[in-house]
């Protein structure tokens, strides 16, 4: 089945510099149907990488393919099957959640009946039904984050790019979001997320990549990372800190 063999994301020799390299010849593969966590310290280049994948930044060099679609050659086709949720929820404060979702559905040309069904389903799942008709300007950051996530899911993307999706959420909200993401992956979607909450990556991610200074310094399942470090009992936090400090020492 060639469809299954196609990676959700193929990144080759990706480069981006703002005076100095931010993403430095990055190579990355994400398989279809997995939840992939991209970890790294502040300024490692995680968000820049995801923004280039989402089409928000022009790479200086390199190639990005989403489900085999070359993003530089056919960006619109790539955008049709992907969704991006930034760390700071970018929604229209003057719209209500329902209006926002229907607006996003319109942008992605989702048929009317389907859009309506999905909107209701998402509002319900993310516990936004009660506030579906209130303007987003009244919401807390966590609620806005949920609205942004719902907007990303309303057109049922095959690839979901999430930048720090759980930041600012309380425990209950975080649980809801995690459940929704888990369900999406089980339904066949691919999710790439960045996070500083290592426990989330440890428990949710199928595979984990650790970035440092614009490069991937480790990539694999948690077991593979442990094996790589030679410590079967190490937590992800131990592995992360060891890898990052080693690389820092080497670069110094």
């Amino acid at each position: 089945m060639p469809q299954l063999e196609t990676n959700a994301l193929d990144v080759a020799n990706l480069c981006k510099a703002y005076g100095h390299p931010v993403v430095d010849h990055l190579n990355l593969e994400v398989r279809a149907g997995e939840l992939f966590a991209l970890l790294g310290s502040n300024g490692a280049g995680k968000t820049t990488t995801l923004r280039m994948v989402a089409g928000l930044l022009q790479p200086d060099a390199g190639q990005i393919q989403i489900f085999g679609i070359d993003c530089s050659k056919d960006p619109i086709a790539a955008r049709k099957i992907s969704a991006w949720v930034p760390d700071e929820p970018a929604i229209y404060d003057k719209l209500t959640p329902q209006e926002y979702l229907t607006f996003v559905a319109g942008l992605w040309s989702v048929p009317q009946d389907l859009a309506k069904a999905r909107t209701e389903e998402l509002l319900s799942k993310l516990e936004l039904s009660d506030i579906a008709h209130r303007r987003c300007e009244e919401f807390s950051r966590g609620m806005k984050q949920k609205v942004a996530l719902a907007g990303a899911l309303v057109h049922d993307p095959k690839l979901l790019l999430l930048d720090e999706p759980l930041t600012g959420l309380d425990a209950a909200m975080a649980r809801i979001v995690k459940d929704v993401l888990d369900a999406r992956v089980r339904a066949g979607a691919t999710i790439i997320l960045t996070t500083h909450i290592l426990e989330v990556a440890e428990r949710m991610a199928d595979r984990i990549a650790i970035m440092h200074q614009g490069r991937i310094v480790a990539n694999g399942t948690l077991g593979e990372l442990r094996a790589q470090a030679g410590n079967r009992d190490a937590t992800l936090e131990d592995l992360f800190l060891r890898l990052v400090s080693t690389k820092q020492a080497l670069s110094a």
């Binding site: 968000t47 619109i76 049709k80 229209y92 229907t102 859009a115």
Partner: protein, 531 residues
């Protein structure tokens, strides 16, 4: 007694007022920048400078062109006023007073909305300090705004040589300052003690007082002019009385009760509309009033899925909804529309006597009006974009998004100006054609700015996406510059000169934009980089 608040009352109060004064200015300038572009002092200052430069240039050319088209005859010789000259002078004076007055109202609103954040409201301040900082900053701002519009007029009048009516300008400034002082005193004092309904009543009370003061100041200025022994001062007012309904604000300025009533009615209607459609603006004011919050319940029933069937409809509908629900944008909308009214008045004056119509002047005025509107819509499109990431990651190309937005703006411009355009075409086909070309050029130039703005906002480092004031400055400058530039060329009767102007504008954008972008990115990155 709260000793902690004022260990040394006079000094502490003074320092607090100074502190607030600076704070007010920063917040005020930033409030007028494109959303989120709150970079730094340099950005704030340069944005203001661009805007001032544009308005100043526009004001000069506008005033010059309007006066230039008139046969002054012996008007420039002291003691021999010419009726047409007086009409134009009165028109420009009216224009200035109108703009200043409306800005006063807008600024009053702005102060309430923008500068009363929770920190200030919960700070241990006594009413006197709070009141003083509002007062001082408000007066300063009004003088700044007055100067924007009045200085060009003064300059041009001086250019034409020794006009005695300049004495009216300080009188107009004095009117504005006095009116504002009183209005602020009343509204602030009562907002603190009463609820929304009472506040609305206060506004209704303060408006006639403002106008009454204006009227008194007008009378004072009349005595002032008379005491100088300038006989033509009387002629001026006599002409104003005789020349048409559109001078009623000037009548009010002189103390005519009928005209005063007309102004009062207009102002009351404007405030009633403001309170009806912009209650959010007064939310913070209600906090001052002792914790009586006023929260407008959201309206969610206005949209159905039908409205968002296609990307085009989605964008159109979203633009409309978000603009309509945003008080700041609506304020921008109305405050930009306001100068159009006196421009139309000037048009009326120019067409008053068809035997002496200065057609290039008419076309220039219409060009000016069109560009104001065009610039307004483009600016609204810039300010009205709160989710750049979402649109940029959607499967709708940048070109299409911009087209959707411009189509909406173009449609509105066409609706508003089709009437005047047809009227102009009836009298002068070449002038009508020139106006169309002027609109196309304005659209093209502003579209380039918009495209560059969007492109650069998206293709910026994440943290600095919202900190790009340069395109806001360019938009401000272009909005102000395009109109008088076209007006100048049209007034010269050189239609072909439009072509180099268009090329110049586009070239400037194309050449400057990459350089500005490079600088912005490198500077921004330096700021964001670890040491």
């Amino acid at each position: 007694m709260n000793a902690r608040l004022s260990p040394n009352p006079p000094t502490a109060s003074l320092q607090l007022i100074q502190l607030f004064l600076v704070n007010e200015w920063v917040l005020f300038w930033r409030a007028f920048q494109p959303k989120g572009s709150t970079a730094n002092w340099r950005g704030i200052l340069s944005n203001r400078l661009f805007w001032m430069a544009g308005v100043f240039l526009a004001g000069h050319i506008f005033a010059y062109e309007t006066l230039k088209g008139i046969d002054f005859g012996d008007a420039l010789k002291p003691g021999l006023p010419d009726s047409q000259f007086l009409i134009i002078l009165a028109s420009l004076t009216f224009y200035s007073i109108f703009v200043v007055s409306t800005n006063i109202l807008a600024i009053t609103n702005n102060l309430f909305q923008v500068n009363n954040n929770d920190l200030v409201l919960t700070a241990p301040l006594n009413f006197g300090i709070y009141f003083a900082k509002q007062m001082i900053s408000g007066i300063f701002m009004n003088f700044v705004f007055s100067c924007y519009f009045l200085l060009p007029l003064v300059d041009v009048l001086m250019l034409f040589g020794g006009i005695g009516y300049i004495q009216m300008i300080p009188a107009a400034l004095a009117v504005c300052a006095c009116a504002y002082l009183l209005a602020m005193t009343l509204t602030l004092a009562l907002y603190r003690r009463f609820n929304m309904r009472a506040a609305a009543r206060v506004v209704r009370i303060s408006v006639p007082i403002i106008l009454l003061l204006g009227s008194l100041a007008g009378q004072t200025s009349r005595f002032y002019i008379t005491s100088l022994g300038r006989a033509h001062g009387y002629d001026l007012f006599a002409h104003l009385h005789r020349n048409g309904w559109y001078f009623f604000p000037v009548h009010a300025f002189q103390g005519s009760l009928g005209a005063l009533a007309a102004m009062l009615m207009l102002a009351v209607v404007a405030f009633a509309l403001a309170l009806r459609f912009q209650p959010d603006r007064y939310r913070q004011v209600m906090l001052i009033a002792g914790g009586q919050t006023f929260t407008r319940k959201s309206v969610g029933q206005s949209l159905s899925l039908q409205d968002f069937q296609s990307p085009r409809r989605s964008v159109w509908r979203k633009e409309f909804l978000t603009a309509r629900r945003n008080p700041f944008l609506m304020q921008q909308f109305f405050s930009t529309l306001i100068p159009v009214v006196p421009a139309f008045m000037s048009l009326g004056v120019t067409l008053h006597s068809l035997a002496h119509v200065n057609w290039p002047g008419v076309a220039a005025l219409l060009g000016y009006i069109s560009c104001l509107i065009t610039g307004l819509f483009i600016k609204m499109a810039l300010l009205n974009e709160g989710a750049v990431d979402l649109l940029a990651s959607s499967p709708v190309s940048e070109g299409l998004l911009i087209r959707y937005k411009l189509q909406q703006a173009g449609l509105l411009v066409a609706c508003i100006f089709s009437g005047p355009w047809l009227a102009l075409a009836w009298f002068s086909k070449s002038a009508a054609l020139a106006l169309v070309v002027a609109d196309i050029v304005a659209f093209a130039a502003l579209s380039v700015i918009y495209i560059a703005y969007r492109g650069n906002t998206v293709d910026m480092p994440r943290l600095k996406q919202k900190r790009l004031p340069i395109f806001g400055m360019l938009a401000n400058f272009a909005i102000c510059l395009v109109a008088p530039g076209l007006a100048f060329l049209l007034a010269l009767g050189s239609w072909w000169a439009l072509l180099p102007l268009a090329l110049l504008l586009i070239t400037l954008d194309l050449v400057l934009e990459p350089e500005l972008r490079k600088r912005a990115v490198s500077k921004v990155f330096r700021l964001a980089s670890p040491a």
